[in-house]
C-alpha cells in the first residue's frame, strides 16, 4: 500500500470517526433536548389541563359545596333550614332520614333541574346511607354511559362505604367512570363532587350523622373538546384497559392517524410509565400522557394529548439532514483537497523519483514537470527536492561532459602514442619490431572495447608500457649519442692537441748561439694567443713576445696571423728601428683585420714588445705596445716601458709610430713577458694583480740573474701567488742575456727616443 493510499485511508477513517462522534453527541443533545421538551410538555399540558378541569369544577360543581359553595346554595344543605319555607328543619334531611324517596327527588329536582338543563351539570344522583339510590337525573345531551340507566355501573359504587365516610368529613372530588354494563355505550368520564347531608345524631351526643350522599358530575367531554380546540391538539382518555376519544362518544370515525397514535401509546406507556411525553416521528406527533386529574392516579385514568409536530419534526429532520449534508460536504471537501494535494505532491515526488531513476540510468535530458502552481510553492519540500534533483542532474551533466572531455583527450593522447610507437617500431628491426607491432595491436584492441573505466585502465597501462618502451629506446639513443659525443670530444681534443703541436712548430726551434735565451710558454688551454718570435740574421736578431687578444683557439688563430706579420714586417736590408718595425706590424695587422669595419666592437690585435739586437754595434733596440722590457744587471733592475697602444687597435691614430728605445752595450739579463704574468690574481675576495713591481722586485732580489734562474724564480713566484686559482690567461716569460760572461762589467745605459 502506498503512502498516499495510507494517508487517504487514515484521513477517511478520521473523518468518519469525527462524523460518528458528532452524530453521537448530536443524538445525545437531541435526546436531552427531547427529554427537556418532554418534561416541559408534561408540565405545561398538566397545568393547562388541570386549570381547565378546575375551572369547570369550580364554576359548575363547587358552587354547590355545603361549606365552600355559593352563598345561595349553602342553605339547601343546612339541616336547620328549610330553603323554601323559612322553617327550621330541612325537608331533604328529613326525607333521607325517613326514607321518603319522593321528597328527596322533588327537592333535588328543584335544586338541579335548571343546571342539568343548561348542561352546567351532567348528572346528579343521591344515595341513602344504606346504598339505596333515591335520586338520579342526567342531562339529555349526555354522551357515553348514562349513570341513571339501568345498565350503568358507576365506579363510586365499588367503594361506596369509603366514599360515604369520606363525605362525612367534607365534600370529595373525584373522577368517576361510569360503565355501560350492556357494553353498548362507551365509559363516560366525569368530574364529580360528592358530599354528605349532615345532621345531629339522634342519640343527643352532639356528634353529626350522615343521612344521605349527593353526587354531582360533569362530563369532561366538553372540557376536553374545548381544551383540544384551544391547543389544536387531539386528545384521548386512557383507562386501565380502554382508550376513549371524543369521537367514540359521538360515534364518529377516528381521524386518520389517531388510532395509530393511540396504539403507539399502548406500547409507550408500557415502556415509559404512565406519565411521559414522546415524539412519534413516523406519525409526526408528540404523544403526552398525564394523570387525568389531581385526584386520580395515572395508572387508572390518563389524558393522552397528541399534538402535531410535523413542522418541528420536519425542521429537526431538515436540520439533521443539513447537519449531515454539511458534514459530508466539509468532510468531502477536505478529503478532496487533501486527495488533490497528496496526489499533486505524490505525483511530483513520483516524477522526481522517475527523474532520479532516469539520471541513474544516464538519461540526463530534462524531464517535463507538471505545473501545479495552485498547490505548490517554491519553498515546499517537494520543490526543494526537485531543485536538489535538478542540481544533481546538472552536476551529472557536467561530470558527463568532463568524462567525455577526458575520454576525448585520452583518445588524442592514445592516438599520438600509437603514432609515436608506430614511428618507433619502424626504426626497429627484426623481432623487436614484430614484438612492438604486436603490442600496439593488442593495446588498440583493448582501447577500442570495454567501458570507460576499462579504457582508462588500458590507456594508463598503454601509457606506462609506451613510456617504458620509449625510455628504453631513448636510453639506447642516449647511449649512442653519448658515445658519439665522446668520440666527438676525443676528436676535438685530439684536433686541439694537434693544433697545439702545430702552434709549437711556429715557435722558434733554435736560438742564436751567442744569446742565452730561456722561455716559459704556457697557454691557458692547449693552444693560446701568446707566442714568442726569434728571427736570426747574421748582423741582427729579432726577439718578440706577443700576447694576442683572446686565448684558446681564437687566440691561436690570431697568433698565427701575428706571427706571419712579424715575419713579413722585417726589412731584408735591416734598415728599420724597432719602433719602425712594430709600426709596420701594426699597419699590416690593421689592414688584415679590416679596421674599417666599424661594427666590429672587439679589439683584435696584440700587446707585446720587440727587440732588435745589432751585433756589430752591440746595440739593443726595443719597442713596446703595452709591454715593457726589464733589465737586471746584478746590482739593479729597471724597466723600459713601451707605448700604451695595442697593436691593431682602432684607437691608434693614423700615422702613429711606436718609439724605439736603445740600450747601448747591453749587460745583464733582459726580460719580456705577457700580462699572463702580471695579471695573475691573488686568491682574495678583492684580489690584487701580481703586477710589474713584483717582477722588478724579484729581479732586484735575484742573486743569480741568469735567464734560466730568472725564469725559474718568476714562475715559481707567480705560481705561489695565485695559489690554487687557475690561470686566467696565456702566459709567456722570456729572459735573455747578450753579454759575454767575461765582459760583465759594462754599465747598463738606457735611453729612450721617439722617432716620429
Amino acid at each position: 500500500m502506498t503512502i498516499k493510499a495510507r494517508l487517504l485511508l487514515i484521513l477517511v477513517g478520521g473523518i468518519l470517526l469525527l462524523f460518528g462522534a458528532s452524530f453521537y453527541s448530536n443524538q445525545q443533545l437531541s435526546n436531552a433536548n427531547a427529554s427537556y421538551n418532554a418534561e416541559a410538555s408534561i408540565t405545561s399540558y398538566t397545568s393547562a389541563w388541570f386549570g381547565s378541569l378546575d375551572g369547570g369544577y369550580v364554576n359548575n360543581l363547587e358552587v354547590y359545596d355545603p361549606t365552600d359553595g355559593s352563598f345561595s346554595n349553602i342553605d339547601f344543605w343546612d339541616f336547620e333550614k328549610d330553603p323554601y319555607t323559612d322553617g327550621d328543619t330541612n325537608p331533604l334531611h328529613a326525607a333521607f332520614r325517613d326514607g321518603d324517596e319522593q321528597s328527596v327527588s322533588d327537592f333535588l329536582d328543584e335544586v338541579f333541574l335548571d343546571a342539568i338543563d343548561n348542561e352546567s351539570i351532567t348528572f346528579v344522583t343521591a344515595y341513602a346511607v344504606n346504598g339505596q339510590r333515591y335520586y338520579c337525573n342526567s342531562s339529555l345531551y349526555l354522551v357515553g354511559a348514562d349513570p341513571c340507566s339501568e345498565d350503568a355501573s358507576p365506579d363510586y359504587l365499588d367503594e361506596f362505604d369509603e366514599l360515604l365516610s369520606a363525605v362525612g368529613r367534607g365534600s370529595t372530588r373525584r373522577i368517576s367512570l361510569i360503565t355501560d354494563t350492556a357494553g353498548e355505550l362507551p365509559v363516560s368520564v366525569n368530574d364529580t363532587m360528592a358530599f354528605g347531608l349532615e345532621m345531629p345524631a339522634d342519640d343527643q351526643s352532639g356528634e353529626s350523622q350522615t343521612v344521605g350522599m349527593i353526587i354531582l358530575g360533569i362530563n369532561i367531554v366538553d372540557g376536553l373538546e374545548m381544551f383540544a380546540e384551544n391547543f389544536e391538539i387531539e386528545t384521548a382518555i386512557a383507562l386501565q384497559d380502554d382508550v376513549i376519544t371524543v369521537y367514540d362518544y359521538y360515534e364518529e370515525e377516528l381521524p386518520e392517524g389517531l388510532s395509530g397514535l393511540i396504539e403507539s401509546d399502548l406500547s409507550a406507556s408500557r415502556a415509559e410509565g404512565y406519565t411521559y411525553s414522546a415524539i412519534v416521528p413516523e406519525l409526526k406527533h408528540r404523544v403526552s400522557s398525564i394523570p387525568f386529574s389531581r385526584e386520580t392516579r395515572a395508572s387508572e385514568v390518563r389524558l393522552l394529548i397528541f399534538d402535531d409536530q410535523a413542522e418541528l419534526i420536519e425542521a429537526l429532520e431538515q436540520s439533521s439532514f443539513q447537519n449531515q449534508l454539511s458534514f459530508a460536504l466539509v468532510g468531502g471537501t477536505i478529503l478532496l483537497v487533501v486527495f488533490f494535494i497528496t496526489t499533486v505532491s505524490f505525483n511530483r515526488i513520483n516524477s522526481s523519483i522517475v527523474a532520479l531513476e532516469k539520471i541513474e540510468r544516464g538519461e540526463l535530458e530534462k524531464t517535463d514537470e507538471n505545473d501545479y502552481t495552485l498547490f505548490t510553492s517554491d519553498n515546499d519540500e517537494v520543490s526543494r527536492l526537485q531543485r536538489s534533483i535538478e542540481e544533481y542532474r546538472e552536476h551529472r551533466i557536467e561530470a558527463e561532459s568532463q568524462r567525455k572531455e577526458r575520454a576525448r583527450r585520452r583518445d588524442e593522447r592514445d592516438s599520438i602514442m600509437f603514432e609515436k610507437m608506430s614511428v618507433l617500431s619502424q626504426q626497429l628491426e627484426g623481432t623487436a619490431r614484430d614484438l612492438l607491432v604486436q603490442e600496439i595491436m593488442d593495446m588498440r584492441d583493448k582501447l577500442s572495447s570495454g567501458n570507460d573505466e576499462d579504457k582508462e585502465q588500458a590507456s594508463i597501462e598503454m601509457m606506462s608500457r609506451a613510456f617504458s618502451k620509449m625510455s628504453e629506446e631513448v636510453s639506447t639513443l642516449i647511449d649512442a649519442r653519448t658515445q658519439e659525443l665522446v668520440v666527438a670530444r676525443d676528436e676535438i681534443s685530439s684536433s686541439i692537441r694537434y693544433a697545439a703541436k702545430l702552434q709549437k712548430t711556429l715557435l722558434p726551434k733554435s736560438f742564436p748561439g751567442d744569446i742565452d735565451i730561456e722561455v716559459e710558454w704556457r697557454p691557458r688551454d692547449l693552444v693560446g694567443g701568446d707566442i714568442y718570435f726569434i728571427k736570426d740574421f747574421p748582423d741582427r736578431v729579432y726577439i718578440a713576445v706577443v700576447d694576442c687578444t683572446g686565448h684558446g683557439v681564437p687566440g691561436a688563430f690570431l697568433s698565427i696571423i701575428a706571427r706571419s706579420h712579424l715575419d713579413k714586417a722585417i726589412r731584408e736590408d735591416g734598415d728599420q728601428t724597432a719602433g719602425e718595425y712594430l709600426s709596420e706590424v701594426n699597419a699590416l695587422l690593421r689592414a688584415t683585420l679590416s679596421r674599417a669595419d666599424q661594427s666590429n666592437t672587439s679589439e683584435e690585435g696584440f700587446d707585446g714588445g720587440v727587440c732588435i739586437y745589432r751585433r756589430e754595434s752591440r746595440t739593443l733596440e726595443f719597442a713596446g705596445a703595452k709591454a715593457s722590457l726589464f733589465n737586471v744587471d746584478g746590482q739593479d733592475a729597471s724597466e723600459v716601458g713601451g707605448d700604451r697602444k695595442s697593436v691593431g687597435s682602432s684607437r691608434i691614430p693614423d700615422g702613429f709610430q711606436y718609439s724605439t728605445h736603445y740600450v747601448k752595450s747591453p749587460t745583464g739579463a733582459f726580460v719580456m713577458l705577457t700580462d699572463g704574468i702580471t695579471d695573475v690574481m691573488s686568491p682574495d675576495e678583492r684580489p690584487v694583480a701580481f703586477g710589474r713591481r713584483r717582477v722588478l722586485r724579484i729581479l732586484r732580489d735575484s742573486k743569480n740573474a741568469t735567464p734560466s734562474n730568472i725564469v725559474k724564480e718568476i714562475i715559481s713566484s707567480v705560481d705561489l701567488y695565485r695559489g690554487n686559482a687557475p690561470l686566467r690567461d696565456d702566459l709567456t716569460l722570456l729572459a735573455f742575456s747578450l753579454e759575454d760572461p767575461n765582459q760583465a762589467t759594462e754599465n747598463l745605459a738606457i735611453s729612450g727616443e721617439s722617432k716620429g
Binding site: T549, G550, T601, S602, E603, D607, R644, S646, R651, D675, T678, D679, M681, E685, R686, P687, V688, A689, F690, G691, R692, R693, R728, D729
Partner: protein, 124 residues
C-alpha cells in the same frame, strides 16, 4: 638599476646621479655584458646636473679595456655637453696594474673631473 657580480663580471649599481663598479671584469663575451650596462648609463646620465662614478676594479682583460674606453668616452662627451661628472678611479696601494690602468684612462679624459684614489688596502 643593479647588475649583480659574477665570477667574471663586476657589480654595477646605477642611479640617476651615481654609478658604482666594483670587482673583476673578464667575461667570455664582453659585448653581451657591456651593452645593457652602457644602455643603462645612457638612460641615467644627463637626467640630473651632476653624475658621480666610482670604479674599483681588480682585474680586467683586454676586451674589457675596450668597454672601459667606450664607457669613459661617453662620460667625457656628456661632460662636454655640460653635465658635471666626477670619476673616482680607486685602486689599492699595492695594485700597480690598476693604478697604471687608471693613469692610462686619465690620459684620454678631458672634460670629466678624474680622480685617482688610493683605496684602503684592507677590505672595508
Amino acid at each position: 638599476m643593479r647588475f649583480e657580480k659574477t665570477q667574471r663580471t663586476p657589480l654595477v649599481e646605477m642611479s640617476n646621479s651615481h654609478c658604482l663598479i666594483v670587482g673583476e671584469c673578464y667575461p667570455e663575451n664582453i659585448s653581451e655584458w657591456s651593452q645593457p650596462v652602457l644602455a643603462a648609463l645612457e638612460d641615467c646620465v644627463g637626467t640630473q646636473d651632476s653624475f658621480d662614478v666610482d670604479i674599483e676594479l681588480y682585474y680586467f682583460n683586454s676586451s674589457s679595456a675596450k668597454f672601459l674606453f667606450d664607457f669613459f668616452e661617453f662620460l667625457d662627451d656628456k661632460a662636454d655637453e655640460g653635465v658635471s661628472i666626477v670619476v673616482n678611479w680607486r685602486y689599492r696601494a699595492e695594485d700597480d696594474t690598476m693604478q697604471e690602468a687608471g693613469e692610462d684612462f686619465e690620459e684620454d679624459i678631458e672634460n670629466c673631473t678624474y680622480n685617482l684614489v688610493e683605496a684602503e688596502p684592507a677590505d672595508a
